[in-house]
């Protein structure tokens, strides 16, 4: 078996009494493009947070590039985190700085403090930043103030930051949530371009987009994996079950991991039709 880029072993995640993830196990191979789909609150964001190390699981282990990220400390942990780039739903840019500084933030993991501070006064590696922005089609915004850009442009800046960071793994949390349909295709195209030669994990609501741009789709519901299939094999029934609002907790908790298609009950389908 080849070494997985990302591996979760019976991971559970709890916030107080709320269970965000329950006994999730999965492995993602290097170079794979994976979409996480599922209703709001299914645990997609939690899963991504575990993968970039911003959260630790209550139980189980998370391995990034073969290392248990939550057991590392200090510089070794940071070195690993540098290999994971994240595109956030809210972009998380430093809004009152120029675009170039936000793009250069991708270098920060490699730069010493003095260089980072000097770059704020005298921007460093301008060409790398310009190239990254050019790939995303906003090269002319290099020196614009970030908070004067449109939402879509800001998202491209966030992508450019990840591009400059040059990680092995790219995570994207609902990148098309607040974008109109035409733009969402652009965005997904950019993301899969970004994910070329990289592992890509992206959480989405739109299954069509997932099927178009990803090799594999993982369906999450109430903290469990409902299905985990190559894009082409995901069926309409599975999707209906995934987004079925009426399915009770009890029924959901009876579902076990990847075997769920066998356990689908007719009643679920009927309810969804109502």
């Amino acid at each position: 078996m080849t070494r997985a880029a990302l591996r979760l072993e019976s991971v559970s995640c709890q916030f107080g009494s709320v269970v965000a993830l329950q006994a999730v196990s999965l492995a993602i191979a290097p170079g794979e493009k994976v979409a996480l789909v599922g209703p709001s609150g299914a645990g997609k964001s939690t899963l991504l947070s575990l993968l970039n190390g911003s959260m630790s699981p209550s139980q189980g282990s998370v391995q990034v590039l073969g290392k248990a990220i939550n057991q590392l400390q200090g510089s070794r942990r940071r070195k690993l985190q540098r290999q994971v780039g994240t595109v956030y739903q809210q972009h998380q840019l430093i809004e009152n700085l120029s675009v170039i500084h936000n793009v250069n933030a991708g270098h920060l993991g490699r730069w010493p403090l003095w260089k980072a501070l000097w770059s704020l006064v005298w921007p460093q590696q301008v060409n790398a930043a310009r190239q990254a922005l050019a790939q995303l089609g906003i090269a002319d915004k290099l020196y614009a103030r970030t908070d004067r850009l449109s939402g879509g442009q800001q998202q491209r800046v966030a992508l450019a930051r990840v591009l400059v960071q040059d990680p092995k793994i790219v995570l994207a949390d609902e990148p098309v949530a607040s974008v109109d349909p035409a733009r969402s295709h652009d965005m997904m195209a950019l993301l899969s371009h970004l994910g070329k030669n990289r592992t890509l994990v992206v959480s989405l609501h739109d299954v069509v987009l997932a099927q178009t741009y990803c090799d594999r789709i993982i369906g999450l519901r109430q903290g469990r994996i409902l299905f985990d299939l190559p894009s082409a094999q995901v069926s309409a029934e599975q999707l209906t079950a995934l987004y079925d609002l009426e399915a009770s907790d009890l029924e959901a908790s009876n579902l076990e991991g990847n075997d769920l298609e066998a356990d689908l009950k007719p009643s679920d389908l009927e309810n969804s039709a109502v």
């Binding site: 070195k79 994971v84 430093i94 403090l113």
Partner: protein, 590 residues
């Protein structure tokens, strides 16, 4: 490092104890989104309770201070003094002296502000909760944070004037005393505000960087500080205005500048010269306040105190070519004036180097047993008088400030203003006169140092708590009136115009539209100034009943440092209590 992001995000949502009422009240919303709450809510009960409590406080203060007694015999002296206002000393030689004094006051303010901002930035970072969470997570960091934060309360509690007198003992006769006397307490205040700004700035971008493997300290300086910077700058301008007033007060202990000239002229009863000094101070303060207000507006800071309000990109006015010229010209002027002012004052930095023996000498005179023996119950009535004076002063200042905030706001009486009927559109009319006059009164009230006001008032009043309270009231009225006028100007006018179009009268608009919307803000400003007022009681203590401040100057002139340490301990304790009460009340009226 575990659960890093959840820890940090907790910080940004938490309201902290505050130097600035504005940010507590505004939260992240512009004030317009808050509608007055109905009278049944719990919040309103709390608000009424606070008002009731304050009312009791005031009654108690009135009891302590007795009724104000006017001295009609002093009318002649006061008339003599006032009539000199029409014939200020204008001989070229004296004007030259005044011009140099004004320059010195300005230079003191510039140097004091610069140093206090440097101190404030360093300690602001060191006192922010966020810094310790990322630099040294865990209980040790938390402990250091608490010690630092608490330690800031000490330099803040001591008034600039007392700092000046203390530093004189260590640094000798040199302008550096005046600059340090401003820089130390203002540095501590600035540090507190800066740390709050840093903690209230959203930390998500920082978290994003940290989670991509960036060293947290790098992420702090790269992501958190730049985001907080506009608010820090805006607050810096406000500090500059305060420094200018402090520089004038420090003249009284001989730091130089306009304050000193006025005080000297007063001592030799040269009223005409005193008035020239007043006019110079008013002019200087007026110029600086106007410039600072214009710059802040053009740079897109809505109000000086609204630091936590997230700057809204859409709201920023597109900078026109002229604005940009003004902004860059201002920055250039700042960049040039800082070195020039330092050079002009010719500070004896070497004195800091040779201060340790004096400091050790001073410290050796303060022993715990002597300090303890100086702590006695006789300090209690003095402490109560001090509090009573501050309560009286802030009541008067608050009422006056609210009243003047309407005529002094641009959006009320001017043509097209809220209290003007639509149609009356003369270019220059009574509205302008009212605006100008009320602003001038406020400016004069805050520009003239409170100790000088107290010296004048005591001619017309018998000694007691009242003359001091009145002097503080007038000074703070000038400051509050301006702050409140700004609040009024930032009021969204649509609901008011709706009232107007309903046919409501001017007073109807004030009571149904403006006061309900701004009341909490006004109250918060008043409570905030109350804390400042308590510190300022020290400087009016020379006339009649002075409470602890009077005792402090007596101890300083007797070189009784142990006694002084004891009095300072009581005063610091008092300041912390009043700060806490004020913070509690402010959070209740929010």
């Amino acid at each position: 490092m575990k659960n890093f992001s959840t820890d940090v995000s907790k910080v940004s949502g938490e309201p902290l104890g505050n130097e600035l009422p504005g940010n507590e009240l505004s939260g992240n919303k512009p004030s317009g989104e808050r509608s007055p709450q109905p009278f049944t809510s719990k919040a309103n009960f709390k608000r009424l309770f606070v008002l009731f409590l304050w009312f009791l406080f005031t009654l108690w203060a009135l009891r302590v201070s007795g009724t104000p007694e006017l001295n009609w015999g002093g009318c002649a002296s006061i008339y003599q003094f006032l009539s000199a206002s029409f014939r200020p000393e204008l001989s070229p030689a004296f004007l030259w002296v005044m011009a140099k004094a004004a320059l010195a006051t300005f230079a003191f303010a510039v140097c004091g502000t610069t140093l206090s901002l440097v101190i404030g930035l360093i300690f602001g970072v060191a006192c922010s909760r966020l810094w310790w969470r990322i630099f040294l997570p865990g209980t040790v960091g938390q402990g250091i944070w608490m010690v630092l934060r608490g330690g800031l309360a000490v330099p803040r509690a001591i008034h600039e004037l007392i700092w000046g007198l203390l530093l004189l003992n260590v640094l000798g006769l040199d302008p550096i005393v005046g600059v340090c006397a401003i820089a130390i307490p203002f540095g501590a205040i600035t540090a507190k505000v800066f740390s709050e700004i840093i903690d209230e700035t959203p930390a998500e971008p920082l978290n994003a960087l940290v989670n991509s493997g960036v060293y947290p300290v790098t992420a702090f300086f790269y992501a958190q500080l730049p985001q907080a910077l506009p608010n820090l700058i805006s607050y810096g301008f406000y500090r500059f205005e305060c420094s200018l007033r402090a520089a004038a007060v420090l003249g009284i202990i001989g730091a130089g500048g306009l304050g000193e000239q006025i005080f000297l002229s007063w001592q030799s009863l040269q009223y005409a010269e005193v008035w020239t000094g007043f006019y110079a101070l008013i002019l200087l303060n007026g110029l600086v306040d106007t410039w600072s207000a214009k710059l802040r507006r053009q740079m897109g800071f809505v109000s000086r105190m609204d630091i936590a309000r997230r700057t809204n990109a859409q709201k920023r006015r597109a900078a026109t070519e002229r604005n940009r010229f003004f902004i860059w010209g201002s920055w250039l002027a700042i960049a040039l004036s800082i070195p020039l002012c330092f050079a002009y004052l010719d500070l004896g930095w070497a004195r800091i180097g040779r201060s340790p023996p004096f400091l050790i000498d001073l410290a050796s005179q303060v022993t715990p047993d002597r300090v303890l023996s100086a702590l006695s119950f006789s300090l209690v009535p003095l402490a109560l008088q001090t509090v009573a004076m501050s309560v009286l002063a802030i009541n008067l200042a608050g009422i006056g400030g609210v009243l003047f905030s309407f005529p002094a706001a641009q959006n009320f009486f001017l043509p097209g203003g809220l209290l003007q009927s639509v149609g009356t559109a003369s270019r220059w009319g009574g509205g302008h006169l009212v605006l100008l006059l009320s602003r001038l009164i406020l400016l004069a009230a805050r520009a003239i140092p409170a100790p000088i006001l107290a010296l004048i008032i005591v001619f017309g009043m018998y000694p007691g708590v009242w003359p001091g309270a009145l002097a503080l009231a007038i000074h703070n009225f000038g400051i509050l009136g301006r702050l409140m006028a700004e609040v009024n100007e930032n009021l969204p006018d649509r609901p008011l115009r709706a009232l107007r179009s309903l046919g409501a009268s001017g007073s109807g608009i004030v009571f149904y539209g403006i006061l309900p919307a701004n009341f909490a803000r006004f109250l918060a400003y008043i409570l905030y100034r109350w804390e400042v007022c308590l510190r300022e009681t020290v400087i009016v203590g020379l006339v009649g009943v002075g409470g602890l401040g009077r005792l402090m100057t007596e101890q300083l002139s007797s070189f009784d440092y142990s006694g002084l340490a004891a009095t300072l301990l009581v005063f610091i304790g008092l300041t912390i209590i009043v700060d806490t009460i004020s913070a509690q009340m402010r959070s209740a009226v929010r």
